[in-house]
């Protein structure tokens, strides 16, 4: 048999049920062909299951061994790795959860899966030196409305079912999951200056402001948006304190002036 055919058959047998490769496998003194080959096919499943267990430890705690095991088995049956680094094998698990019965009906599991994937992505996202809040110090008050901000690549803003952060924290200590409320919550995930991935739940004004800021809107535009929403006089102060926190968390990597406004 040609090498290409042998490899195709070998791979088919590792992944699936086709055992045509066994014609090419020698038995050993102690094992028959099928038992020898099973070392590879068994290891394939175990190895890919461990990639998923490593990436989604809290989802596993929340689901329990039986449900998580069934999910993992279904995912492995449906998903091949195409990347030299197995780190990306489990990236499609959240979408898989939404598509596959019976898990699609469990928004709290989806929330956990999205949060864990975002944490993994934040951990090794692209590097950029965070910008220091000192960069704002010398600016006159007239300059502020035109300021725009560039954000770190590690950031994601997740819109998930309400109670996801609480469910994550319960799963971390293997406590029973809290009752999930209806509605949504926004979670910010990022890599901090300590190089670890962090998350926090955002109140609605911060979630809106951060969404706008990441879309390139100026500080002035964000203030207007908040003022319109909240009919609040102290909007500039509140927006400034949000901004200070973003600097403190290391979310911002650059400051620009919006040419249209300046």
């Amino acid at each position: 048999m040609k090498l290409a055919d042998l490899q195709a058959k070998f791979q088919d047998a590792v992944i699936g049920e086709d055992r045509a490769i066994l014609d090419s496998v020698n038995p050993s003194r102690r094992l028959d062909r099928a038992a020898r080959f099973a070392v590879y096919s068994d290891a394939y499943r175990l190895r890919h299951a461990s990639f998923l267990a490593e990436d989604y430890p809290m989802l596993r705690n929340a689901m329990g061994e039986e449900d998580f095991g069934a999910l993992v088995e279904a995912y492995i049956a449906a998903t091949r790795s195409h990347h030299p680094n197995a780190r990306w094998y489990g990236r499609h698990l959240p979408e898989f959860l939404t598509r596959a019965e019976p898990w699609g009906t469990k928004p709290d599991w989806l929330g956990l899966a999205l949060l864990e994937r975002a944490l993994a992505d934040a951990f090794d996202a692209d590097d950029a030196e965070p910008c220091d809040v000192g960069g704002l110090a010398g600016l006159s008050s007239e300059a502020w409305p035109a300021l725009c901000f560039d954000f770190q690549a590690s950031i994601s803003l997740l819109s998930v079912v309400s109670g996801t952060c609480a469910a994550y924290e319960a799963a971390a200590i293997e406590a029973p999951p809290p009752q999930t409320a209806s509605g949504a919550e926004t979670i910010l995930v990022w890599r901090g200056k300590d190089q670890q991935a962090h998350y926090r739940k955002l109140e609605t004004p911060e979630a809106l402001a951060l969404t706008e800021a990441r879309a390139g809107r100026s500080f002035g535009a964000i203030c207007s948006m908040l003022a319109f929403r909240d009919k609040d006089d102290a909007v500039a102060e509140r927006a400034a304190s949000l901004l200070a926190r973003w600097f403190g968390d290391g979310l911002i990597r650059g400051i620009r002036r919006d040419i249209l406004q300046s």
């Binding site: 290409a4 094992l31 062909r33 020898r36 790795s81 030299p84």
Partner: protein, 281 residues
């Protein structure tokens, strides 16, 4: 053909030990780094590697080159490997004599090769292209295997020896893999070791395996076994001194236990060297 100078006695750089290494600068001569783990955009792993590289030599050891695959060479992967090598300046770059998948799939395993003339020509041609692309000789490692193929036309050691000679590459001799495959396929590990050209071997791997009764598995989750230490002594007698390292990838012990295991390797190497001096006197 000048072999790279031996680096001494090393360990695998694994995330569980980052703290031990950064805090204590342990007496390890060098670290072996899994290349793919650092083919990421950024973050702590890369900055840890920068720090460790400042204090230790490293070797980049890959698991996804898939040199024996009939799939086309992955030049995106090789480009990433080349950039990593430019950034971290490893003493050398290695991967395995195996394939990891075809048709765009990576099975993340070191899959066995039939020892045929066709496979030999194929591997030799690909190593040549990889070495041209990377601009350096690479080291190729013998793997543990759990099947042999009816198609094979030669012994594993003949295949390995021919690959090294014809492709003009280095060899990374995994002593544990020789032992594991020897058990699984009923050959004498000694015959393997004695067949390989001394001039080609630049590095050894040592590792633990698991014993399933009917077969052994290259699990890297145990200390090095007494049989593998004995084979290491024999290999050192033939090839030493070369760079040596211990691979540990599961059931991680406290770091000092790995240091003690590394001391054992140093002790055996010293005893073999003394024996050679004694014989010469």
């Amino acid at each position: 053909m000048q072999k790279p100078a031996p680096l001494g006695f090393g360990l695998g750089l694994r995330p569980v030990y980052y703290g031990d290494i950064l805090d204590n600068k342990p007496p390890v001569d060098w670290f072996e780094v899994i290349s793919e783990n650092f083919m990421i955009p950024g973050g702590r792993p890369l900055s840890v590697l920068e720090c460790i590289r400042a204090d230790y030599p490293i070797v980049l050891h890959g698991v996804s080159m898939s040199i024996a695959s009939t799939a086309p060479l992955d030049f995106d992967y090789l480009g990433a490997l080349k950039r990593l090598a430019e950034r971290f300046q490893p003493a050398f770059v290695s991967d395995h004599l195996c394939w990891t998948g075809v048709h765009g799939v990576n099975l993340h395993d070191l899959l066995p090769v039939p020892y045929t003339k066709e496979a030999l020509d194929h591997v030799v041609e690909r190593i040549g292209r990889v070495q041209d692309f990377l601009g350096r000789r690479i080291a190729i490692e013998n793997v543990s295997s759990y099947v042999t193929f009816a198609e094979s036309e030669m012994d594993e050691w003949t295949f390995v020896k021919e690959v090294a000679e014809r492709a003009d590459c280095w060899l990374l001799l995994d002593v544990n893999n020789v032992f594991v495959s020897g058990f699984n396929h009923d050959f004498a590990p000694t015959e393997f070791i004695q067949s390989i050209d001394v001039d080609r071997v630049v590095q050894f791997h040592l590792a633990g395996h698991s014993d399933q009764g009917t077969h052994k598995i290259d699990s890297h989750d145990e200390p090095v076994s007494p049989e593998v230490w004995a084979l290491f002594a024999e290999a050192w007698r033939r090839f030493g001194p070369v760079s040596v390292m211990i691979e540990r990838d599961d059931k991680f012990p406290p770091f000092p236990e790995l240091l003690a295991e590394l001391e054992q390797a140093r002790g055996i190497a010293a005893a073999v060297a003394a024996e050679k001096i004694g014989a010469a006197a």
